[in-house]
Amino acid sequence: MPHLPDATDPSPLIHARGLTKRFGSFTAVDAIDFDVAPGESFGFLGPNGAGKTSAMRMIGCVSPVTSGTLRVLGHDPASHGPQIRARLGVVPQQDTLDNELTVRENLVIYGRYFGLSRAECGRRADELLDFAQLAERSGDQVEHMSGGMKRRLTIARSLINEPELMLLDEPTTGLDPQARHLLWDRLYRLKQRGVTLVLTTHYMDEAEQLCDRLVVMDKAKIVAEGSPRSLIERYSTREVTELRFAPGIGETLDGRLEGLAERIEHLPDRILLYADDGEAAAAAVHQRGLQPEAVLVRRSSLEDVFLRLTGRSLAD
Amino acid sequence: MASLAHPRTTFGRVFEHRFRQYRRTFRASLFSSFLLPVLFLTAMGLGLGAYVDDGTSEALGGVPYLVFLAPGLLAATAMQSAAFEATFPIMGGLVWNRTFHAMFATPISGRDVALGNLAWITVRLTLITTVFTIMIVLFGAASSPLISLAIPAAVLTGLAFAAPIAAFSATQRTVEKFNAVFRFGITPLFLFSGTFYPVDQLPLLLQPIAWLTPLYHGVALTRALSLGTITEQPILALVHLAVLLTFVGVGTVLAVRNISRRLVRG
């Protein structure tokens, strides 16, 4: 591996200023600024098409930057792509496993791409098979595995070069709840070991579980930045009361809910009342003689932050 | 009753599906079915033929090499097209885009899927062999008006491969073994079944093996029609015909059985 001169500013692992990606006339990432510190777990949160994947691919040095500054591990992807990639672990949105190879061969050959010796690849592959709980599937063809197993193998594969920085694009999208929790557990262990994680997600619970700090992206721009807790405090109330009315009634309520909460959101299927005391808000609704079909009081989540920032829900 | 909407019409729908698929690639494939005979007849028949005729042409029954070769290539081309149509598109419908499974969810039965595909292959083969035969006539390589009957003979030759190969394809989940079918089945048959020279040129040991293959009988029948020599040995021609029909019959039964089983298994 060629020796890299020490970076001038060793503190942030990723440093982006005015980072922009355009495809023809379409702007996928529009002049975003952010830094990721060593050991941090950093998230891009946003709906599909917000520009998260484009940002990740630029960081992964497989997509040329259109304009702005980007430094990854202290270096410029345009000139040091291979050297940077040698120190990254990448989990793409869609599994890119080698279907023509077995589970173990996938790990070994991937290690070989990084220039590791065959013996070293074999040793790490066995270790990672244990880590990903795939040891007994070692000789299976990848094609016939479940989605959750493929995902774990992809993560194991991305660890073969003992990366300093991991890029995870939608790591648990499409998995069933059990498989997601297993994956979160594995990612949490990596975090404990001091690996820096950068991930994108449109799942609020995932962002809250895994991210120390995140940026909310919408329409190619960053619209807010902070820890999950601080974002909720800044952009939402402590609690939310969700009301569901019979079809057709919701639209006739204009004005009758006024003053019950700090903020009211009308969604197609429900109405959200933002108040620090959700139970009180629910009681007040009944006092006004309104009879929702269902009432749910819950704590505010990043979903609410997103709704507040963009006027849309994340699931769209 | 809806259940009376029948095998005949339902298998027609399978046929229609293949036809619609095909229309998209129609031009490219018409081009190649027209170009292939021209290229082969020119290179092997005219180019190489000039040197064959220099040698011992009595081995060819006293006709110029082009005239000898043309019907052999016709039958062999039918075999190759049939083999292709009975492998990849069948795999496509059963595995890749699963359109046959989608059909199976409607009143269409496994039998309809099998017969519809074979009917479609018959039409494809008729088109290819007709164009090929016209080329043979234009090259002046036909000695008898009976060449018009070489078209059904070549189609039958193709079906003698298409039906059993379709039955085989229905048992496969990957294309891995197709490679072996072509490399160790179709290509050697193309080269050693009397297409390019009479099988009595082969080592004695190989001759009985050639007799067992449908292409040998297809080439012999097609050539006898093209050269007009069929009237000299009508019994032999009937043997060829019987062998081909046996392959088509048994192959069709197996294709219907295997495709139905495969669709039921999902």
Binding site: F23, G60, V62, S63, P64, P82, Q83, R85, A86, L88, V90, P92, Q94, T96, L97, D98, N99, E100, L101, E105, V108, I109, Y110, R112, Y113, F114, G115, R157, S158, N161 | T25, A28, S29, F31, S32, L39, T42, A43, M44, G47, L48, A50, Y51, V52, D54, G55, T56, E176, N179, A180, R183, F184, T187, P188, L191, F192, F196, Y197, Q201, L202
Partner: protein
């Protein structure tokens, strides 16, 4: 500019590309039969056309005009066309599949390997395979007594050169392909080359104008090169053949490398 940058990559020290070769070796450990089968195709042709049909031909004018047995004439040409075909198969169908469906390369790009490494690695793999086939075929030629000149020692490198030229251009062409149907175009080029590059009969068979055209086509360079080496008809024109094929390969490699940058690094 690009060609200059690529040249050092082709030096055997290009270790990163070789890891892609290693990947393909892993894949083919599961399907070694496919590899092995590639060796049989030219062998079948040699036995059928060379010996079977050759018996009806006798001798034919060799590269220097001297009559030589037909087997001796056609064997080197079959080796040259097999080198072309092998390289084309690997660099078109297989390459298209890896590029568009298997996403093999997408994963590899997250490692220190670059698109240029991928292009060179894939080509190197096609050449290693082709080299093994060529070696096997030369052994067959030796067994049949079809190698009559010590210059034949250069036959395997020549076969590799043909593979390099066609493999690189094949990959370049594939990088522009959108659908499987576009491959009809490749067959439209390859089949005439196979049939008309003085493969089966001497170039003198053509009228003078056509001779000039054939002499300009790429497979003719390879056929004449290998045939001249096996019969020992050495002349300066062989250097022209070598230069032609080398330039063709480097142009192809420069194009595919630039195209891969564009296709994969978006």
């Amino acid at each position: 500019m690009t060609a200059l940058r690529l040249t050092p990559l082709l030096i055997p020290g290009s270790r990163r590309s070789m890891r892609l070769v290693e990947r393909n070796v892993y894949v083919y450990r599961h399907t070694w039969l496919v590899i092995l089968s590639g060796f049989f195709e030219p062998l079948f042709y040699l036995l059928s056309i060379g010996f079977g049909l050759g018996a009806l031909i006798g001798t034919i004018p060799g590269p220097d005009g001297e009559p030589i047995p037909y087997q001796l004439f056609v064997a080197p040409a079959l080796l040259a066309s097999a080198s072309m075909n092998g390289a084309i198969n690997e660099s078109t169908f297989n390459f298209f599949f890896k590029l568009n469906y298997n996403k093999t390369f997408t994963a590899i790009l997250s490692t220190p390997l670059s698109p240029g490494d991928i292009a060179v690695g894939e080509l190197a793999w096609a050449l290693i395979r082709g080299g093994l086939y060529a070696l096997g075929f030369v052994v067959v030629m030796l067994v049949f007594g079809l190698v009559v000149s010590p210059w034949a020692i250069l036959v395997v490198p020549s076969a590799l050169l043909i593979g390099f030229a066609f493999g690189a251009v094949g990959m370049a062409a594939t990088s522009f392909m959108k659908t499987w149907q576009d491959f009809d175009l490749i067959q439209l080029v390859i089949l005439p080359l196979f049939l008309f590059s003085a493969t089966f009969f001497p170039i003198e068979t053509y009228p003078p104008v056509l001779q000039v055209i054939v002499r300009l086509t790429p497979l003719y360079q390879g056929v004449d090169l290998i045939r001249s080496l096996t019969v020992g008809a050495i002349s300066p024109i062989l250097l022209v053949h070598v230069a032609y094929l080398s330039v063709m390969g480097f142009i192809g490699l420069a194009v595919v490398s630039r195209r891969l940058d564009k296709l994969l690094l978006t």
